[in-house]
Amino acid sequence: MKTFAAIDVGSYELAMKIFEFSGKDKMREIDHIRHRIDLGTETYATGKLSYDKVEELSRVLKEYKKIMESYKADAYKAYGTSAIREMKNSGIIRDQIEQRTGINIDVLSNSEQRFLDYKSIASKGEEFDKILEKGTVIVDIGGGSIQISLFDKGTLTTTQNLKLGVLRLRERLNRINARPAQTEELLEEIDDAQLSVLDKFYLKDKKIENIILVDDYLSRYLMQKREESGTPGYISGKEYQTLMEFLRSSNARDIAFKMGISEENAQLLFISAVLLNRIITMTGAELIWAPGVTLCDGIAYEYAQQQKMVISSHDFDKDILDCAIQISKRYMGSRKRAETLESLTMTIFDSTKKLHGLGKRERLYLQIAAILHDCGKYISMVNLGECSYRIIMATEIIGLSHLEREIVANVVKFNHEEFLYYEALSRESSLDRQSYLTVAKLTAILRIANGLDRSHKQKFKDVKALLKDRELILTVDTKEDITLEKGLFADRAQFFEEVFSVQPVIRQKRGL
């Protein structure tokens, strides 16, 4: 049995959950402590955090440390989200806090954060799987932005970040100085541009039946109020309209009273509700589920996965790959060729484990790189490497951190372009030496795979790779003529040789 503390240093709240893991798949929340602290307003405006806020943050983190000690927690993980991310001197402040409290805060990129939110929903297990059987949209409403992820038959087809967070919208509304009665209308005008694009590109023609809501205001009410009748956390589209009617016809005070929240939060709840209502209208969803999870649940779930304590039925790597496939599709990448490359790279990767010493996560990078190897083609056939790199760097891939995305982008780039060595590369990139080596190794593999499929005719469907002494023997079972591949292979293989000191060799085995 293990006890774990998950800390979320959010934009307006510092939260900690204590979890207990027992048995193979039991994850139980035993405490949830929240402290309101507005870090967002300052860092969004000035990029820095005032002395007072650092003080307060340190004081509460120290208390949290005591609390986790009182539960005899085995481990903890603290993540900072946008407020910490957007701090110019985040490194200094985080170090200061660590020195004072002993708590190290890691920074999450948006895509990592959303992935954790997503994992937090997945931590609900069966309920999650069941809802995903039908077309589902996850609406994750944060302070600064909202994330909309679309699932089709259990497959993640896209995820988009829109700068329509509740705090951001409230700030805009306040600037316009809108009357309460106008709020809904104005909100619709503000969000329309972004939402209609979303609708046009992704939602149209998809049958969406369920919406999963992650937010801090409405979910709480849905979790609570529904306890009187029905299942807590669930509300039908129809019931939701009744709720909207109530919200429209009540002032902030009544809402606050009825829902047991502060008046300030009543406004945020209303914004949240309007956003959700827009999406319900767009999709025609019939069921809304608010699992009432927070980032902390995702942090704990991730920890449990790392500790191999939770065997999830859900394949998160597949979500990431699905996402990459959707991106490739969007830039008209060749699915067939990507499949060949995927299979080739995986074969080579798996048979050269002793050489590269890389793990499961790096295997995933390589696979994504194979899928996205030609996305830049969409823009320019000549500048394929650079364009691919730019596209990948500009596209969110859920579940990948910024650094991981950069690794993938570099592998794709150097597949086409001359490899830049660390000394040159580090001048324009933040990659550390370790990541650089990963890039080099994965590039070497992708390059020979690419070489094997030179003609793009998928002659090398069935390749066996065998490491023998200082040679990597690639046995191809094909009756086709592979003169072209053989001829140009030496060139491709050179880099591999440089990286691994092993020479790849092609052997053709003519089947009967």
């Binding site: 049995m1 006890t3 709240e13 207990e20 027992s22 139980r28 035993i30 405490d31 949830h32 402590i33 929240r34 402290h35 309101r36 208390e63 005591k66 000690e69 009182s70 539960y71 005899k72 979910s219 709480r220 979790m223 609570q224 306890e227 807590p232 047991g260 009432g292």
Partner: protein, 707 residues
């Protein structure tokens, strides 16, 4: 709907809370006047009426004076301004005091005499030997601690301490021109008020009489013209009373600086006091005639509690009841194992409070316990709970204690042991800004084989092992996951963290509790309107929240049958045609102080029953941290319902509120005589005996041969 609500809030439908309080003290006084009660118990009740009245003056009358001084004209729920209330109260309290002393003089004193205890009323009545004995007693014991003070042009009028008993005298200088001067001496509170005079028959005299007899020894250069005892009550409480509305509090706060500190609000003097002396006192204390109480007898009757303690009169006292062991928790039992078997209900003082103390004691020593968290409101002087908490902290447990410093009159006491806990390593929270923490909850977090398990005690009474022998309260010991989660959330909130995302079982004041009660009452109303049976039984100490009362009226008008058991103040009126004909109110004043709060709702056959730390008073629902908890195990629900039903059956100690607004003893004709408190004592004793018997029977019985 709005209009209808106003209908139920018509001031005519409400009794002023102060007047209702006077009625309550009359009920206590009626116990002192009840011939069926042992004589010394009656002394005790009379003493209680006196200390009640003192507290009432210091808190309520003082508060009303504040309102008048602040020019606050808002009316109370019964439509009375503060000034009107004070005027009316004046009359009522004078009547109450008259009755107190006629009870003392006409009933109790003669009975004491008959039963062999002579109270010497005046020192002039002493025999020579007795007088000599007392003079000697005065010189060796009393004289050394007295501080006589005389007033003249060079010495200002001395500060007369709040609630102290004093002797005031008019004196003239022996070599002077016969000018009257004022002199005073405090009757020392460190000495016993009652002094027993040795001899064949038992005789007692009050300390002030001894001093009065010897007063010339204190003012040697003066001639004594007259000597009379007097006593004052001051508005010395600088904290603002939480009972009042928020706007009033603001108003008074503004006025606070203007308020004359320690303004005298009551002056008690001996009847027949020298007019010149009285005039002088009134002038110096700046007090009007309406606040002067001329007393026919000894001032400050609380000495009767000491008289109760005199040895040798056991036959004139009620038989002492020993709280019984709880069958599910025999002594030495692993309390956590017992709770895991199922929730346990405790009914004090019929059942002993020891399990609650043991709960914390065992937790302090248990190596698996990680943390203990508790709220403390009023604890006893030498509290075993405090000792156990300190021990736990020393054993390395995380101990968090919320100590309510704002608990009336207990402040100094609280600070001392709070510091002690801090020294032992406990995390002590000194209350919350603007709120009194009145909830009674203890959480023990234990790490067990299959994970964290939380054990919770929730109660209606304070964690005070002394009062738990006198107050009737209920408590619940549980390790229910849902309540455990809520308890953790409660302590997170009390530590200053945000409220939880949702509550499982508990309802907290000041944020949610009132709504919950209104919801529960409203649900019965709806049931009644739908033609279903609907019923509410609620037991509490006081009922004066206008919103709750209006909801009760509305429910009763819809046909809900409502039985209320309200010990003290009740602002609700019964028998208002079309409004409260379905409501009955009874008050039980007995040997034990009724203190538990139990709420029963029929809920269309799925009855729900709750216990709480809160009364239906605005201060409980709006300005305190209080907890309402459901009791859900069927057999425990039955026990609670049984408590309520027994109290509804009571024909001995129950007074029924009449439509005229008076309280009358239950008409016993055709009913069996039933004293609910006695019945609970008997039941608890029987239950304990029965479980002991089964314990003794723990012999294995071998199976006999089968055919």
């Amino acid at each position: 709907m709005g209009e209808k609500k106003n209908l139920y809030k018509n001031p005519e439908y409400y009794t002023n809370r102060e007047m209702s309080w006077v009625l309550f003290n009359h009920r206590v006084l009626s116990e002192a006047r009840d011939k069926n009660i042992p004589l010394f118990e009656r002394l005790k009740f009379l003493s209680i009426t006196a200390s009640n009245l003192d507290e009432f003056f210091m808190i309520r009358v003082a508060s009303l004076k504040d309102m008048v001084n602040a020019g606050y004209t808002k009316k109370d729920i019964a439509g009375m301004t503060a000034k009107e209330q004070l005027e009316k109260l004046g009359e009522q309290i004078h009547g109450l005091v008259d009755l107190q002393y006629s009870t003392y003089n006409r009933s109790l004193l003669p009975l004491l005499e008959q039963n062999g205890l002579h109270v010497v009323k005046k020192h002039e009545q002493l025999s020579k030997e007795d007088a000599a004995y007392l003079d000697k007693y005065f010189e060796s014991n009393v004289y050394p601690v007295l501080t006589p003070m005389a007033v003249d042009s060079s010495r200002p009028f001395p500060l007369i301490r709040n609630k102290s008993l004093n002797l005031g005298a008019l004196v003239t200088k022996k070599e002077g021109k016969g000018e009257l001067e004022f002199a005073t001496v405090q009757v020392p509170s460190v000495l016993p008020r009652i002094v027993e005079i040795p001899g064949e028959n038992r005789k007692v005299i009050l300390l002030e009489e001894i001093i009065e007899r010897n007063i010339h020894k204190l003012f040697l250069n003066y001639d004594i013209v007259c000597v009379h005892p007097f006593r004052i009550m001051r508005n010395a409480d600088l904290t603002i009373e939480e009972d009042e509305a928020a706007d009033l509090l603001k108003e008074i706060e503004k006025q606070l600086k203007k308020r004359q500190w320690g303004e005298a609000i009551r002056l008690e003097v001996e009847e027949g006091i020298d007019k010149r002396l009285l005039k002088m006192l009134k002038k110096e204390l700046a007090i009007g005639s309406e606040a002067v109480y001329a007393i026919d007898g000894p001032l400050d009757l609380t000495f009767l509690m000491k008289m109760y303690g005199l040895e040798g009169f056991d036959k004139l006292k009620a038989k002492k009841y020993t709280p019984q062991p709880v069958p599910k928790l025999p002594a030495g039992e692993d309390i956590f194992a017992a709770i895991r078997e199922g929730d346990i209900l405790l009914h004090h003082p019929y059942q002993t409070f020891t399990p609650v103390v043991d709960f914390i004691r065992q937790a302090a020593k248990d190596p698996d316990v990680l943390a203990i968290k508790q709220t403390l409101y009023r604890v006893s002087g030498n509290s075993p709970i405090i000792a156990a908490l300190a021990q736990a902290a020393e054993n390395g447990k995380q101990v968090s204690v919320l100590v309510e410093l704002k608990a009336r009159f207990d402040e100094e006491n609280n600070i001392v042991w709070a510091r002690m806990l801090e020294k032992a390593g406990c995390h002590v929270i000194y209350g919350l800004v603007g709120l009194k923490t009145h909830s009674k909850i203890t959480l023990v977090v234990r790490r067990e084989e299959d994970g964290i398990r939380r054990y919770v005690h929730l109660g209606t009474g304070n964690y005070n092992d002394a009062t738990a022998k006198l107050y009737t309260d209920v408590g619940l010991l549980t390790c229910s996951e849902a309540i455990g989660e809520d308890a953790t959330a409660v302590f997170n909130m009390l530590s200053g963290y945000s409220e939880p995302l949702h509550w499982n079982k508990l309802s907290l004041a000041p944020l949610w509790l009132k709504d919950k009660f209104l919801y529960l009452i409203g649900r019965e109303r709806d049931a009644a309107l739908a033609g279903k049976p609907a019923r509410i039984i609620a037991k509490m100490n006081s009922l004066c929240d206008a919103d709750v009362i209006a909801a009760l009226y509305e429910a009763a008008a819809a046909g809900v049958k409502i039985d209320l058991i309200v010990r003290g103040i009740c602002c609700l009126k019964v028998g208002i045609p079309g409004i409260s004909e379905n409501i009955s109110v009874r008050s039980i004043v007995g040997n034990f102080l009724e203190h538990s709060r139990i709420f029963y709702f029929e809920n269309d056959g799925n009855d729900e029953i709750y216990c709480a730390s809160a009364d239906w008073m605005p201060r409980n629902l709006e300005r305190r941290v209080e907890i309402l908890f459901p009791v859900e195990k069927e057999e425990l629900k039955a026990e609670l319902l049984h408590i309520l039903q027994n109290q509804l059956k009571d024909t001995v100690k129950a007074h029924l509120l009449t439509p005229e607004g008076t309280y009358e003893k239950v008409d016993r004709r055709g009913k069996e005589t039933f004293n609910s408190q006695d019945a609970f004592c008997k039941e608890a004793t029987a239950m304990a005996a029965e479980s002991k018997e089964t314990e003794n029977n723990r012999v294995f019985i071998p199976e006999t041969h089968h055919e």
